[in-house]
Symmetry: C2
Subunit: 323 residues, 2 copies
């Protein structure tokens, strides 16, 4: 189980490797939010999302002779790029299994980061069987996207930074809003803050219609999403919270918050105008909750994590259209 010692150990392994992203703010956003608002821009992390932290944490913790055989991951998105770069910087092979219909740019980017991309046919091939065979044949270690204690520990290092950076400017209590898919980032941050900034409360943030975590926190057991596609917030759409992440979320988190796609796009536009950062829709849901649903949280300070920025120009234009 991930605990604060594991997160601090991950921070030690990540030192000099992950970027320490700054805390940003704007008086214009404070005014919209109705309180002091700080933004942790993980879009500025290597490969454009927080995923590099968890991938590095997991890969760096492998025994050298295990790591040398390489790693494997299933992902068409941010996790793929995080694993690819973390593997390359360790000098080991990464195999990324992606659906053949994944966007070409994502396939190209993952390959350009040095990974071997294996495509499969969603309709006729069993992804898990393909991965199991590759792992067995080549001795590859699977790096899961969220349901792994070492991955959670890596994502939790963002929480350590939030606690330290907020304390530097005199903030010890705050509502901390985190975009939540499988819950790796949210549970890691919640664990870090419970130890280092216990007056902060973490709220998972999701798109409306894909609020499995919010509903699971309400019912106290794992609930599934009815749909798994059809959202611009693709980076944070998962079937359900993880088996390992959910108990942490359930123990530590305050109620979830859901926002509309239009609110996510408007938050992206305000981040463009006021913070000069690029956020993808899924990475903007926490900022959107802070800006447009301030009535659902308490206190005079909120901290929103902007978890990723891997957005196509076409979608970014939709955000600019809201200005």
């Amino acid at each position: 189980m991930t605990d604060i010692a594991m997160i601090e150990a991950a921070a030690g392994r990540l030192a000099g490797e992950a970027r320490r992203t700054p805390l940003l703010s704007s008086p214009f956003l404070d005014e919209i939010a109705g309180r002091r608002l700080l933004i942790k821009p993980e879009c500025l992390q290597h490969t454009g999302s927080f995923k590099f932290r968890g991938a590095w944490s997991a890969i760096s913790a492998l025994a050298p002779e295990v790591r040398a055989k390489g790693v494997i991951a299933f992902s068409s998105g941010n996790h793929a790029q995080g694993v690819a770069m973390a593997a390359r910087r360790h000098g080991v092979a990464a195999v990324i299994i992606m659906p053949a219909d994944a966007p070409k740019m994502k396939i190209d980017n993952t390959r350009a980061l040095g990974a071997e991309v294996v495509l499969y046919d969603r309709a006729n091939e069993d992804r898990d069987a393909l991965g199991a065979k590759l792992s067995a044949d080549r001795g590859l270690t699977l790096i899961k996207p969220f349901d792994d204690p070492l991955v959670i520990a890596g994502q939790g290092t963002a929480g350590l930074e939030i606690a330290e950076q907020a304390a530097e400017i005199g903030v010890t209590g705050a509502e901390v809003l985190v975009p939540c898919g499988g819950g790796g980032l949210t549970s890691g941050i919640a664990l870090a803050l419970a130890a280092k900034a216990p007056a902060m409360r973490v709220h998972p943030c999701e798109p409306e219609g894909f609020d499995d975590v919010t509903r699971s926190l309400q019912s106290g057991r794992i609930e599934r999403n009815a749909r798994l596609s059809g959202s611009l917030c693709d980076a944070i759409i998962t079937p359900q919270p993880g088996e390992i992440t959910f108990p942490i979320l359930n123990r530590l988190c305050a109620p979830g918050l859901a926002v509309t796609e239009d609110e996510a796009l408007r938050a992206m536009a305000l981040a463009f105008t006021r913070l000069k950062i690029v956020i993808e829709p899924g990475g903007a849901v926490a900022l959107a909750a802070a800006l447009f649903h301030g009535d659902r949280i308490e206190g005079d300070t909120a901290i929103a994590v902007a978890s990723g920025g891997n957005v196509d120009p076409e979608v970014f234009r939709l955000a600019l259209d809201t200005l």
Copy 2:
């Protein structure tokens, strides 16, 4: 005259006030540039540009009884916002004189930062006479945009950070590319690096057709631009290098580099895709020089300053169109 002691003193006054912007990088940009490329994103500074550093440096150095009477500046752009925020955070009045035909958004933003905006008619009013009368009547102190030792010292704090952050990752020698208008930022960085990282060489970067600094460095005396409008890079268009900044540039800088508007737009697009930051055209000329004119510089490492991000959505769309 600005020296390293003044820059370090400015850094002391800016501690906890200016953001320490990170150094960013991307393997994709390294490949285009043909060398290791580090980016200093001053677009993430308060008010979206480095100008806050110089404004704070100058205002914080005023005697309290002088500062209490307030400050005044001429600007329709980034300097206006930097002075407005620095004055507000000191609790003193700021008067900003702007042409009546300045973009409404810039006027609104400057007012929203607490400044009193005084508009004048470019055709029929004498800006300097108006400013002199306001200063005399109310005892306001003029904060110049670049030709002031304290402003140069403030901008130079970005150079101190570059030296420290590069050394942390083992970089002591590099070609440092800086967007250059009047030369406040470029001369400040050049002074800081001459003292703290003497193996680094600073190149001023400008838009083609507005390369007064590049030509002045070639001739050894101050040359003027033939035109003062008609560039997307409006933030760095000035008539000529400053009386105070030019001798510093002439003593310390390597040759200037000029880029086309199209190159600046393409650099903005690559910063969107690979760095997840928003840069304005004038703020992108150094990155453009590093990416598209690598043959004009030497060495295995370049550092490009992205000096500002205050760009309208319409212009940003032009950049996205280049992808």
